[in-house]
Amino acid sequence: MKPQDMKDLRELIEFLKEYQVAEFDLDRGDTKIRLKFSQPAAASAGIADIAKLVTAVPVASAAVAAPSSAAPPQSASAEPAADPDANLHIVKSPIVGTFYGSPSPGSPPFVSPGDHVEKGQVICIVEAMKLMNEIEADASGEVVKCLISNGQPIEFGQPLFSIRVG
């Protein structure tokens, strides 16, 4: 690697660390960038970090990952350690697909933080294979937070909403 490339790479890494970027792609030809910020995660350290570290790449090609706060690739495999509240129930996705917070683009969301929901109430849609699957709350209570953004791809078991039960 040329000295200037090394310098560029160092600066890039510092930048990524400062902004807690967990994943970063860059394509170069006509550019194309993809950033993924790290989530507060109980990161399973060890092989995951080592694997990412050794994929150190020359600046002109694909993926570079920030070595420090390396969240596991794509999957939010950790429990959302964000809220220690014991009454907090996390609604998790039963399927793989794309998350939508409202019944259709532009219409108001199914639920918002502060709303009361009943068990069985539809709280979002996960689209899978062109089918819109309605996801129901599996507990009653007050919606605290929506943990996913509209249009985000989600996996099985992905935390969707936190609900304060009661």
Partner: protein
């Protein structure tokens, strides 16, 4: 070449496919069940998506979950590995309908080969030798005698509705036939509610010989020699070798020509394996075809120098065999593979749990395909294969000595493994002489008891 491929599998084969993709510059997407969260195939993939809880039916076999993952990851193709969805024609069709390339043969071909009887008829029509047998159910003793004399004794009577060895009788002469026919029929009627029988030639000491095939999407087919897989326990292979000591160059050439012709007619594409039984006279009879990459593919890779998984990827992206394979492929040396399972070496009871030490052997001509590691966990939900140990030597003797050395250095602690059993087999005179058949393990275990 594809930009991004999803590997619809787990364990060592998922890692194997991932490796081939990586080396070809293809981005990889792993799917995993909650039980495989810390698997190597997950850790080493570019992206990973959890698709379900541990049970295979809810995760790895869950077609909507796999396809949905492929869609949100925006992949070009899916490699199904072996087992799981690899021979599921419906899955291949859903891939096609979803505009995702399925790395394997077209669904119609998978379906044809998946129906045993249809496959036999297709092969028979293409003049591939099949195990002689009755044309369906045998209506009477007279017909049984007639069929048996055409096939030649010994024959085996089998229950149409059956399995598990019930309603089966081996008949060695026409005098014995009537009584055994009645016996089999009655037993079948009692066990399955259906006493109908069919008949097949019975091979006393069969060997299991299979041929590797590769076909591109432009009508070209070739074979990459054979593998000897007679060391089996309860129809599960334990040790495989390439080439087979029993296959002569003439036989190899004959089968090569026959398979190339017949698979071209059938429109086969991508990798596959044609399985045969060999009788005492070294005649081969077709039993079935597996329309996927096989567990034991590394022994063929060792003797030919061809990366079969890369070939699969290249074939699926439209390349021609003439660009993928060298003009002349020859057998170089001898390769042997041991399937290392997480099970007790004597009792064969499965052993799930956490691995506390994992030292893999290395060296010239020694290859390990594994997705396990120290501190790794073997979950109880899936098959027990944890590693494949493959050796390649100048000849069978050298391969054997390499395997013995390598097995002695393969240290796994925390769970039981079949390593000790493999060591005993390699010390066995019958195995070393290469004079064995599919009943070898029965005899070996009896000797050991």
């Amino acid at each position: 070449m594809f930009r991004k491929v999803l590997v619809a599998n787990r364990g060592e084969i998922a890692l194997r496919v991932l490796n081939a993709c990586r080396e070809l510059g293809v981005r990889t997407v792993a799917v995993y069940s909650e039980a495989d969260r810390n698997s190597l195939h997950v850790k080493f993939a570019d992206e990973a998506i959890c698709i379900g809880p541990p049970r295979p039916a809810d995760s790895y076999l869950n077609v909507p979950a796999v396809i949905s993952a492929a869609e949100i990851a925006n992949v070009d193709a899916i490699h199904p590995g072996y087992g799981l969805l690899s021979e599921n024609a419906n899955f291949a069709e859903v891939c096609r309908a979803s505009n995702i390339k399925f790395i394997g043969p077209p669904p119609e071909v998978t379906r044809l080969m998946g129906e045993k009887e249809k496959a036999r008829q297709a092969m028979k029509a293409a003049k591939v030798p099949i195990l002689p047998g009755s044309d369906g159910i045998i209506a009477s003793i007279e017909e049984a005698q007639d069929v048996a004399s055409k096939i030649g004794f010994p024959v085996i009577l089998k229950a149409k509705a059956g399995g598990g060895g019930r309603g089966m009788r081996i008949v060695r002469s026409s005098e014995d036939l009537p009584n055994l026919f009645h016996g089999a029929s009655t037993e079948a009627a009692n066990a399955f509610g259906n006493g109908e029988l069919y008949m097949e030639k019975f091979i006393e000491q069969p060997r299991h010989i299979e041929f590797q095939v590769l076909a591109d999407e432009h009508g070209h087919v070739t074979t990459l020699f054979e593998r000897e897989c007679s060391i089996q326990r309860r129809h599960q292979k334990l040790i495989e070798e390439a080439p087979s000591l029993q296959v002569t160059p003439k036989l190899r050439e004959e089968i090569h020509k026959t398979l190339c012709r017949c698979l071209t007619e059938i429109g086969y594409q991508n990798a596959g394996t044609v399985e045969f039984l060999m009788d005492e006279d070294r005649k081969l009879y077709f039993i079935e075809m597996n329309t996927r990459i096989q567990v034991e593919h590394p022994v063929t890779e060792a003797i030919t120098g061809i990366d079969l998984v890369k070939a699969q990827l290249r074939i699926a992206s439209g390349e021609r065999l003439s660009d993928i394979l060298p003009d002349k492929i020859e057998i170089r040396g001898h390769a042997i593979e041991c399937r290392i399972n997480a099970e007790h070496p004597v009792k064969f009871t499965p052993s799930a749990g956490k691995i506390t030490a994992f030292n893999v052997p290395g060296g010239n001509g020694v290859r390990i395909d594994t997705a396990q590691y120290s501190e790794g966990v073997v979950p109880p939900y899936y098959d027990s294969l944890i590693a494949k140990l493959i050796v390649h030597g100048i000849d069978r003797d050298e391969a054997i000595s390499k395997m013995e050395r390598a097995l002695s250095q393969f240290i796994v602690q925390g769970i039981d493994t079949s390593i000790a059993m493999h060591q005993e087999i390699f010390a066995d005179p019958e195995f070393r002489a290469g004079e064995f058949d599919t009943k070898f393990m029965e005899r070996f275990l009896a000797r050991r008891a």
